[in-house]
């Protein structure tokens, strides 16, 4: 709506209230002046809304909810003589109708909704027409047109007015259903006011039933309707996130329902007790109050929860969704790490972030990424410790309360996620440290091999050489002795070389193929060796592959009674796939210890598989 139109309509409402007040003041009817003053409150709130949102039609609609009432109400004195004064009563509802059609963010599009104001207007004219010139005299309607057309038009107009109100309420419901989070929350404020008004109406009935005067019974209701509705609409538009409207709404509804139930029980009790026991009124009321309190105590909680489920449906659905997720996690159907996605969905907040508390006091994201600063979010506790923190992208009182509700259901998946993360980190650390140990031991082997070759072995040979030189100058007998000594030294050198070979075969420097060729050469049974094009792998992987082959071959020679060994080494991505196959007696169980072999392979992050059938030979496969 254009700002000019909005201001004009609101201004007219203010003018109408002022004019009405001036008129009744001139008549000296101070009760109606007071009523007009009450009506002015809604107009003032309407003006605040206009200032806040100059294009919103809610401001003028709110202003006219009471301005129209003021205009209709002041048809007293000379104005009551006007021919339309009896039939214009539907105008009391015009402002409310407009408010329901445009609240909270403008009218719905669609022919049906656009037709509602026109239908209401025509029906109002119909009502005016059938009561044209009629006047109330001592509670009796006198005058007005006669004729066959009057009853059907009257009925039709009444029905249309009723239908218009129902449709307007329906349009509000439709906008609520399809609305954004904001429109929903705004609509809840109006709903809250409506429920309080209805509750006060019920209270008025009860009070009237108990013998209160009409004024005393219904004044709270009237005050509520002229104050609560404008206040709630004002809050909805200007500061819809002022309070947690869901909690207020739930509380108000539960209060209303409890009130109705208690009034009913109280009435029945009074009736039943007075009839059955024929005792005094005072005692009857006392007994009735006691019975009511006794009955209400247990049902109060159920009423509250039931109302919460109906009125604050979003929250109920959200909690149920998270509880279902937690159950799925327990049943192994879903991964606990999905908790962030689930919370984002139920909170309707794509920027929501879950942080997990680490045992060392730090914080991480769900995927283990560490976070520098402690998160400033809603803390979730388990067993007295803070295990997680949920930071909202859309921060509001309502979102905070919602997260507090779902957190109770979410703590199990969060704790599982956290523990899994901690466990994974511990495992990674263990693996890294094992890798470091393995590499250190490989370096040690290399150094040991060096020391054997360049240290001990070299000195023995040098000593042998000196003996030989000495030998040249010795008589034959002693020379033969030296021969024996030198032969001894040679044996020692050979021994050392073999030891060094076992520590780390020097041939590995020429590649795995060269080293395995030497293994093949020393095999007493036929030995097929196939080595493909191998990727460049670290020394420790190459050594591991070599040791897998030598240990497997040693096992075959020792136990398998095989007639042939076949060794294949191939590239598998950037790793080495080693296969040792024999045609021996087999029968090695799948879970055979082979601990040394398995430890070696696993220590470099590889895998070892054994396949063995009785009399079908054995296959050992390793990927390193």
């Amino acid at each position: 709506m254009r700002p000019g139109t909005v201001r004009l309509l609101t201004g007219l409402a203010a003018l109408a209230v002022l004019a009405s007040a001036a008129y009744v003041a001139a008549l000296g009817n101070w009760a109606l002046v007071g009523a007009c003053a009450a009506c002015a409150f809604a107009v003032a709130v309407g003006w605040v809304i206009v200032r806040h949102d100059p294009t919103s039609p809610v401001g003028p609609a709110l202003a006219w909810t009471t301005a129209a009432i003021a205009v209709v109400t002041v048809h007293v004195g000379p104005l009551a003589e006007l021919p339309w004064s009896s039939g214009a009563w539907p105008l009391n509802l015009a402002g409310l109708l407009a408010l329901m059609l445009v609240f909270p963010d403008g009218a719905s599009s669609g022919r049906v909704w656009r037709a509602v104001p026109w239908a209401f207007g025509v029906a109002t004219l119909g009502m005016v027409a059938v009561q044209w010139g009629a006047r109330q005299v001592d509670g009796e309607v006198v005058g007005g047109p006669n004729g066959a057309w009057v009853p059907p038009v009257a009925v039709l107009s009444l029905l249309t007015i009723g239908l218009s109100l129902v449709l307007a309420a329906a349009s509000l419901a439709v906008r609520y259903r399809h609305g954004t989070r904001r429109t929903r929350q705004q609509t809840r404020w109006l709903l809250l006011a409506g429920i309080v008004v209805v509750a006060l109406l019920v209270a008025g009935w009860v009070a009237e039933g108990l013998g209160a005067s009409l004024d005393a019974a219904y004044t709270p209701f009237l005050i509520a309707i002229v104050t609560l509705v404008p206040i709630s609409v004002g809050i909805a538009i200007v500061r819809y996130d002022l309070f947690d409207v869901d909690r207020l709404l739930t509380g108000a509804t539960a209060w209303l329902v409890t009130l109705v139930v208690s009034a009913t029980i109280f009435g029945l009790a009074v009736y039943g007790v007075s009839h059955a026991l024929s005792i005094g009124t005072g005692l009857t009321s006392g007994v009735a109050a006691f019975v009511t309190a006794l009955t209400l105590l247990p049902v109060q909680r159920h009423i509250a929860s039931w109302v919460g489920r109906i009125v604050d449906r979003d929250r109920h659905v959200a909690v149920a969704e998270v509880e279902r997720f937690a159950a799925d996690v327990r049943a192994g159907r879903r991964q606990p790490e999905e908790i962030e996605a689930v919370l984002r969905k139920v909170e309707d907040d794509p920027d929501l972030v879950v942080h997990l508390a680490r045992p060392d006091g730090g914080w991480t994201r769900l995927d283990g990424t560490p976070v520098a600063d402690p998160p400033d979010g809603f803390s979730i506790e388990a067993g007295g410790d803070v295990i997680a923190s949920v930071s909202l992208g859309w921060d509001s009182a309502r979102a905070r309360r919602r997260i507090a509700d779902v957190a109770k259901a979410a703590w199990v998946p969060l704790e599982v996620t956290r523990l899994r993360l901690v466990l994974r980190e511990a495992l990674t650390e263990t693996e890294a440290s094992r890798q470091r140990l393995v590499e250190a031991s490989a370096a040690e082997r290399r150094k040991l091999e060096r020391d054997l070759h360049d240290g001990a072995q070299q000195r023995i040979v040098a000593t042998g050489m000196r003996l030989r030189l000495l030998q040249e100058h010795l008589p034959a007998e002693q020379a033969a002795e030296v021969d024996t000594a030198v032969a001894e030294l040679r044996g020692t050198v050979d021994e050392l070389r073999r030891i060094a070979q076992g520590v780390r075969p020097i041939l590995l420097d020429d590649g795995l193929a060269a080293a395995l060729t030497a293994v093949k050469a020393s095999s007493p049974i036929p030995f097929d060796l196939m080595v493909g094009d191998l990727p460049a792998v670290s020394d420790i992987r190459m050594l591991t592959a070599y040791l897998v082959v030598t240990e497997a071959v040693a096992n075959v020679l020792k136990h398998a009674q095989a007639s042939r060994i076949s060794v294949t080494v191939a590239a598998r991505q950037d790793r080495l796939a080693v296969e040792v196959v024999d045609d021996g007696i087999g029968g090695v169980p799948d879970d055979a210890p082979l601990t040394a072999l398995r430890d070696r392979v696993v220590s470099v992050g590889g895998t070892l598989g054994i396949r063995s059938t009785p009399s079908g030979g054995t296959t050992i496969q390793a990927v390193v």
């Binding site: 070759h453 360049d454 072995q457 070299q458 000195r459 040979v461 040098a462 042998g464 050489m465 000196r466 030989r468 030189l469 040249e472 030198v486 030294l489 040679r490 050198v493 050979d494 070389r497 060094a500 020097i506 041939l507 420097d509 020429d510 060269a514 060729t517 030497a518 093949k520 050469a521 060796l529």
Partner: protein
């Protein structure tokens, strides 16, 4: 024979020098690392360089690399490499060529064999350690040598070590004629030409190829 020795272990170096001197050879220089070896050969122009494979500065295959470099500069220089183990990577192109030898260090304990090998290398012959030969034989699978009998392979292995027919006959305890017959059979099976004097070298090369 004029010799330069390159060996970083003092104990072993002194032993070598004394041993070679004892056998009547002239040891011109004894150095302890690869750079000094190069410089010494430039200065002394020896007939033979006895070189430790693993030497300073890197303590890896410095000696072998120095040998490969010397072969380019001095094609006639005899190169006898000594090592604690078989490590052929850096001298592979030299293996089997005239004037090249590769022995494990403990071979020096057989004084006669060692000096014979040194003399052979200095005069353009070959001297490969049996362990080297064994590792080369097993390195090849499915080569042209598949047709050879066990005995013929044995003989060819001895040829590759640089031994003469007579020496082979002594070693295998057979007659010279038998050795000659085996060698002829090997030549035929390897498809080497009847003519020419370098058939022995060709056979050895064939024997060592594909490494």
């Amino acid at each position: 024979m004029r010799i330069v020795v390159a060996e970083d272990s003092v104990l072993f170096r002194e032993g070598l020098v004394r041993l070679l001197a004892e056998k009547g050879h002239e040891v011109l220089d004894a150095v302890g690392d690869a750079a000094a070896l190069q410089e010494s050969v430039d200065r002394n122009r020896p007939d033979l360089a006895v070189i430790d494979v693993r030497m300073p500065p890197a303590m890896e295959s410095d000696g072998a690399e120095a040998a490969a470099a010397l072969r380019v500069l001095y094609p006639d220089l005899g190169l006898l490499l000594l090592s604690q183990h078989i490590e052929l990577r850096h001298v592979l192109p030299l293996v089997g060529t005239p004037g090249f030898g590769y022995l494990l260090k403990d071979r020096v304990l057989d004084l006669a064999d060692f000096t014979a090998a040194a003399e052979r290398v200095a005069t353009g012959g070959s001297a490969l350690d049996p362990a080297v030969v064994q590792s080369l034989v097993h390195a090849r699978a499915g080569s042209t040598l598949d047709d050879l009998s066990e005995r013929e392979l044995d003989v060819l292995g001895q040829v590759a070590q640089g031994l003469s027919n007579t020496a082979i006959a002594d070693k295998l305890v057979v007659s010279d004629r038998t050795v000659e017959a085996h060698i002829r059979s090997v030549f035929t099976k390897l498809g080497l030409p009847d003519e020419g004097t370098n058939r022995r070298v060709l056979a050895v090369l064939r024997y060592l190829e594909a490494r």
